[in-house]
Symmetry: C2
Subunit: 336 residues, 2 copies
DNA sequence: GTGAAAGCGCTAACAA
DNA sequence: TTGTTAGCGCTTTCAC
């Protein structure tokens, strides 16, 4: 194994100079730096991660806590993880995979053993049991999602309120006057996460602002429920021409259900959704949607963490602006 | 931070005794061990990972190289990764996430810097560029999939040949006499991975053994191709009553296509597939299938790696026996 | 701008 | 069965 003393000898400098040349923590003359760099390359030197961590109390590793719960859209998690890994590498860090299952104990373990410098926690719940721990730990963390009480924490997520608004604005802009939100399952609104309520707020506010008639239907995520919801919606609001879907498993069956009730999408009914792009694209009638920006969430999380590790302060809350992609499921309202 | 000397003082023993009590690498008297354990608990001691790695040249971290390529079924990768992480923890190891993108350089980096002790490489190609490196590295690795030349490597995968056979045996057992394999896209057979060919071998051998009439159709993965294939199959083999599908994106559209050609599944046509269970279950007519045992592959990989790290020798090739799950898409052949 | 040297916290000889 | 101690390879004061 090549070590720093080997490089130092080869370059005719002291080990500390090699170290400083690598870290840039003190000025090195142009000439010395080049000799050192040449020696490093020539000898194929790679600093020993453990030794470095021991001496510097920095491991250059981030923990990423990944959810296992059902109801999570797997490709989104994957995309997020990949983005975190890629971005971390750009900042000279690696990523340690932690399962949700390991819980608070797992977080404490990797922090106390100095395995990681910081952590990213996905799938944060309203009353997440890990919150007190994360607050008390002396290592920085970033949460994906917003708990009920976010004081002293750094959180990031899609701006779901703005996403709900954006969907409605788009429908209103196309001339639709009666719109409905098919939302997440009822239990989501009660416990767990806040994003579902935020969508409702945005949807309702924007409908109001635009003078639309609107209604909200929380809905079980079972595809079987789709036909019932579609039928109920049309019964209650025969003039309905715009629908916002915030319920992944329901999207495809719902579009089918409307068509089977004799409504063309987008001819008679325009549909927008808040869901992963790939889902929106995979429906038979590709759906105009606000994307869940998994990759951006990933890279932004890492960047927040890097700032915190660098001693900078960062905003406690970061909301990503929604981005709507036009697809085949929306059209101007038919002339009456 | 609590360190080993703190624990030693508190327990009235030497640091080495604490270390040995933790590692079990030399006998400790019952009484001493209990005092040490009590002190550890009381002080909340956690060994410093870096210090440990430095002194023992073992990081207790495994690298997991995850593919990014399209055409990979994401939930399977995720399931595999989770299984690796969970199993690794049972062996007191952690998992470092590496993207395919990092390539050989990434593998070399984490090994040379002693960040990881061993690695698991997913999505291995027939002529994978990483093979020479993996062979030359002095750290053990396990590959998921079989390259063309596996000498000196440890590989594990589903036994795709047996999977092909199993599907045919099942159809034959139900009385079907004319069967077809709808396989992976042509290019898969040419380059990349070996599993597609293995399925064909198993399929053909079993058909032969059972005296069945059989044919093989490699097929583009585009759903649009489904109708064409279905139509062609029925034209060439009007007596066809059994189909094996080894092509994830085609499964659902193919079943649809057959039904639109007037064939009931399983009334007129029995369908089996080799694909992730969740895909098989999600089709309108749930499909009898041989599962891709992602979780088992994950845990078995880790166990192989642990054996290798322990100095034991392991088989170069491990083939997991296929497991067929009966679902709604298969039935006895209609009386003629 | 550079060097010398004292640790970082742990493991594993070696010694008893 | 237990203790003493010399490193593991690096970073970072302190000194020049």
């Amino acid at each position: 194994m090549v070590k720093i003393t080997d490089v130092a000898r080869h370059a005719g400098v002291s080990p500390s100079t090699v170290s400083y040349a690598l870290s840039g923590k003190r000025p090195i003359s142009q000439e010395t730096r080049q000799r050192v760099e040449a020696s490093i390359r020539e000898l194929g030197y790679r600093p020993h991660a453990g030794a470095r961590a021991l001496a510097s109390s920095r491991s250059n590793v981030l923990a990423l806590v990944i959810p296992l719960r059902t109801g999570i859209h797997v490709p989104v998690v994957m995309q997020f993880a990949m983005s975190v890994a890629t971005t971390a590498r750009r900042h000279d860090h690696d990523v340690l995979l932690l399962t949700q299952e390991e819980g608070e104990e797992g977080l404490r373990r990797v922090v106390d053993s100095a395995l990681v410098d910081a952590m990213i926690v996905m799938d944060v719940q309203l009353d997440d049991p890990r919150l007190p721990l994360l607050r008390s730990l002396d290592r920085p963390s970033v949460l994906i999602g917003f708990p009920a009480e976010a004081d002293g924490l750094t959180c990031i997520d899609l701006d779901f309120k703005a996403a709900g608004e954006l969907c409605v604005e788009r429908l209103a802009g196309l001339g639709h006057r009666v719109v409905a939100l098919v939302g997440s399952p009822p239990e989501v609104y009660v416990r767990r996460t806040a994003f579902a309520q935020r969508v409702v707020q945005g949807f309702t506010a924007a409908a109001h602002r635009n003078g639309l008639i609107s209604c909200v239907h929380p809905c079980e995520p079972a595809p079987a429920a789709a036909a019932a919801v579609a039928e109920q919606l049309l019964r209650e609001q025969p003039a309905l021409t715009g629908v916002v879907v915030h319920n992944e498993p329901l999207l495809e069956p719902l579009v089918d259900a409307f068509e089977q009730l004799g409504l063309r999408v987008p001819g008679d009914l325009s549909v927008t959704a808040i869901c992963p792009d790939e889902l929106a694209e995979s429906v038979r009638v590709p759906v105009t949607s606000v994307a869940l920006p998994a990759a951006e969430l990933g890279s932004r999380s890492v960047e927040l963490l890097m700032k915190k590790l660098g001693g900078k302060t960062v905003p406690g809350a970061t909301l990503l602006a929604p981005r709507l992609t036009e697809r085949a499921s929306t059209a101007p309202r038919n002339a009456p």
